[in-house]
Subunit: 313 residues, 2 copies
């Protein structure tokens, strides 16, 4: 495989996928999954979430998973942190990257974390201050997502100006990376071009990723649109694991292997091997208890004569 990557694909099924299903994966199963994806060339995996175990028993072993994943050479080990307390635990566990999330929709922010958007941004400031006060964590990247950036199930449409304003504030506070998230699968390609162009503009040199859900089947179309305006980082979930418990059959995040196939077919190097991803998918699926898997590449395979960009001479 070619080591150069044109696009950075981050696996989030081990967090966003697992937290959305009923089955609780044993720690060893999570680590087997993480090892196979890392072996396939996935450069970064969000391996867990430092939320109270009472809220998400699926994530109770996140510190242990972070420690196990850290043993894998070359892998960037990321973890979701909902607040300063979670961030302290993620720093202590040794995560390479902390991903915080601000809901851009006031209504969603209140419903989800009982904070206003301003208070959620203050919490991010507190995390950044904690890192400044702990030089031993200076090398740890701290990123923030911008949730419900494409609309909100409570408030409906979200003003793109609210997304840009939150992005500006996160940049001021020193975020190492942003991820604009279509948390509920409301986004469309035209909207993606507008929102990502605006956020890239205020982000300057700070990388901006995209986090898409495939709820209405537009996930990969949104990727195409985001690529067009310059986005080069995408979250995805192996087999589209996740989905919404209230919408049977609905997919969760975009499907990692379908995303990688699309990018590689477009001539964009991900550094990820598709066969390796399918092996990880197979292993992961063995632990599911009736939860549906998604994706087209697993069934259809590669076109005849297909050469992945990462394998091209």
């Amino acid at each position: 495989m070619n080591d150069e990557r044109d696009v950075w694909v981050r696996e989030v099924g081990t967090r966003d996928g697992l937290q959305s299903i009923a089955t609780v994966f044993p720690t060893a199963a999570k680590l087997d999954w993480i090892r196979l994806e890392a072996a396939a060339g996935v450069p970064e995996i969000e391996v867990g979430s430092f939320v109270p175990p009472k809220l998400l028993p699926q994530m109770a072993d996140s510190a242990e998973v972070v420690r196990g994943a850290k043993a894998i050479a070359g892998l960037r080990v990321a973890a979701l942190v909902p607040n300063l307390r979670g961030a302290e635990n993620a720093f202590a566990a040794g995560a390479d990257q902390l991903n915080y999330v601000v809901s851009v929709s006031e209504a969603h922010s209140q419903a989800n974390v009982r904070k206003s958007v301003a208070q959620a941004l203050d919490e991010f400031a507190a995390i950044m201050e904690y890192r400044r006060n702990h030089p031993e964590y200076a090398h740890v990247r701290v990123a923030s997502g911008l949730a419900t950036a494409f609309g909100c199930t409570i408030a409906g449409p979200v003003d793109p100006a609210d997304v840009v304003r939150a992005a500006e504030r996160l940049v001021e506070l020193g975020a190492d990376e942003l991820a604009v998230a279509d948390t509920v699968g409301y986004g469309n390609p035209a909207q993606c071009r507008r929102i990502f162009a605006a956020v890239l503009d205020v982000a300057g040199d700070i990388p901006v990723g995209a986090h898409f859900h495939d709820t209405r089947g537009l996930g990969l179309a949104n990727v195409d649109a985001a690529l067009e305006v310059g986005v080069r980082r995408f979250d995805a979930s192996l087999a589209g694991l996740g989905g919404c418990p209230y919408a049977p059959g609905a997919s969760g995040n975009i499907v990692t292997e379908d995303l990688v196939f699309m990018l590689e077919a477009m001539g964009l190097r991900t550094g990820i091997d598709l066969d390796g991803l399918l092996a990880a998918r197979e292993l992961m699926a063995r632990h599911l208890d009736g939860e549906p898997t998604h994706g087209a590449f697993v069934t259809a395979g590669a076109p005849k004569g297909f050469v992945a960009a990462s394998r091209a001479a």
Copy 2:
């Protein structure tokens, strides 16, 4: 509904979908389906195929379906014709538009219709000559698809120059419209931009449509790419009916209702009502005998606060 359309969506499930499944729909069921889609605002439906009934018993009633569909005010009634003989029958049945198909891949053309590409183009010339010699059919549009334009299951990659050359020849021969087809779901967005830009260039004022299969999940991403370079006509199949008998779970054409949702969300008026499409889908699905249906919009519904472009003030 607004009568102006930014994008022309053509339903092909009644042909491409039905010919790919085992169940044979009764003529009345086809016409009920066609009527509901026309009532939803679909401007054109490919209602059948004038192939020998021995080959495709599902299409044996195509003349009757054409005649029944012609009773629907405002609907453009299209039919596939594999050769001059089929064209004669479609003209006689009263179709508004005949869709011929040339396989751009020499290997696929030979395997599919036992003709070279040159011979297939000669057959199109014969159909055009037949129309010239029959002034009573002068108002009937004759279009041609360019099949396997994105790759071929037999030959693998197809040279874009072959697509352009066939398109040029079809234009010379007087085609009223072209449809570039990803017959086997090999296409990706980067390739779409290249191929459609090149074909639009040689087509001049002649409309160029896109016919995508969703075999590898990239159908709507390919639509986004084709839109970007100026394509404004798309084929689709209600509930993604069709699929490949050799790939269980694989979708056929892109899903009409998901396509319409995407376009309307992007601010592009299709003149099609999504609720009306779902009603047609429900009626159609009652006639299936275990064949899978596809699509995300049917499960997820519209985002909160969504206003379709065709319904906007």
